[in-house]
Amino acid sequence: MQVLMLAVQIKRDSEGRLIRVWTVGAVSPFERAGSSSFGWIRAAWRHYFALQNTTKENEQVRRENDALKLQISQLQGKAAEADRLAALLNFRQSHRDVPMIGARVIGTGAGTASLMIQLDRGERDGIRKNMGVITPDGVVGKVVESYPNASQVLLLTDKESGVGAMLADSRIQSPVGGQGEPLLVMKYVPNDDEVNPGERVITSGMDRIFPRDLPVGTVAEVKPGNPFKQIRVKPAANLERLEEVLVLLSLRPLEMKNEERPANAQPSAPSAPGSPPVARR
């Protein structure tokens, strides 16, 4: 029968379309149903039974992800620390003539009554009271107490803190002190003198603690006052987030290697912070 059919198809060049249509028409609904059923079963298997493993895999991947995030965070922290230490090292190398030692901040004052930090180095490392503390960004404060293995530093923002400073452009000298707030104040600048926001404030070296030309901050706000201008200064060093600092290991007046005192330096204030103002000119 089949040979006969083959012969007919070859002879008439027919593909037996009618038979195929019938067959396909009859079988395809079952195929479709079978396929749907199989798809449903496969989907059920994938999305339900196999989920048990997927859940486990998910947990594992999540754990790995968390571990990797932690690792990245640690590496970022180490990279940031390395950058900070590199900056300190560069600063030290560029100021080899000034004896200084690096120290890590290990604590703060145990209260809000004073703005203070504690360092992990003390008398045994040569740190003494009244030594200056800086970062490559700028002035931090001065050592107020030194113990064998630790020392306490009064931050520039404390009410009792101060530094001999001057305006970088006009070279007007005046002490800068803290107020217990994030911003510092520049005292004793007469109303006649022109001071503009954004102007850099640097150390004058007149306090005999800090070398000249170290950054103290930038002028944030200027208001006329009586008898002196009210100048608020944003500290150059990030005093709210200190991790490593440099202690200037000298109680003698320091001079920076690359400094050059300009002829137009105008003393506008006393040499040491906290002293009464002196008339300028």
């Binding site: 604590g107 004052g109 209260g111 009554a113 203070m116």
Partner: protein, 175 residues
């Protein structure tokens, strides 16, 4: 009536006892946290953990003598850790008085409810700062403002932290 604010006779108020060394360890831990936490989180300087410990043990022990001595001990330790610009006794005086007040109030009120703890801590915080300003003005001749927004915010933040910190400290109780 709310039990937390129920005024009762002293004989009905439970005096809590703590595990051996709990007060000393909690005190030292509070001081270490106070000194080291702001290095990592500058905003944490707003908190006064030694004060929270003083208030908690004052309220729990309910013995004015104990509260007074504990406040003095914690305050003097805090003074000695605050550097030479803070004279010994500044925090000592304030915390001695707060320790006494907390234990006196604890002997009269049931202070176990979080709302009571929140309100009392905020009040004690403001009183503590007031005592510091008073000491600075009268004994040290240092002008200090009595009140600012920072104090108000700090009082609320400390009171909120106290509610959770006190729950942790409750675990150190014997009973």
């Amino acid at each position: 009536m709310n039990d937390a604010f129920d005024i009762r006779g002293e004989s009905h108020i439970e005096v809590h006892k703590f595990r051996a060394g709990a007060i000393i360890i909690a005190t030292l831990f509070a001081l270490v946290i106070q000194a080291s936490f702001p290095v990592q989180f500058a905003r944490a300087a707003l908190l006064d953990f030694p004060l929270l410990v003083t208030i908690y043990f004052g309220l729990s022990r309910r013995n004015p003598s104990t509260g007074l001595l504990l406040g003095m001990f914690i305050g003097l330790l805090q003074d000695s850790l605050s550097g030479p610009t803070v004279p010994l006794g500044l925090y000592g005086i304030a915390k001695t008085i707060i320790g006494y007040l907390a234990s006196s109030i604890g002997a009269r009120l049931d202070t176990e409810h979080p709302a009571a703890r929140f309100a009392l801590t905020a009040t004690f915080f403001v009183a503590h700062q007031g005592l510091i300003v008073l000491t600075r003005r009268i004994l040290l001749a240092q002008p200090e403002p009595w009140f600012n927004m920072h104090l108000f915010v700090a009082a609320l933040v400390n009171a909120l932290v106290a509610v959770f910190a006190f729950l942790l400290l409750d675990r150190l109780r014997k009973n």
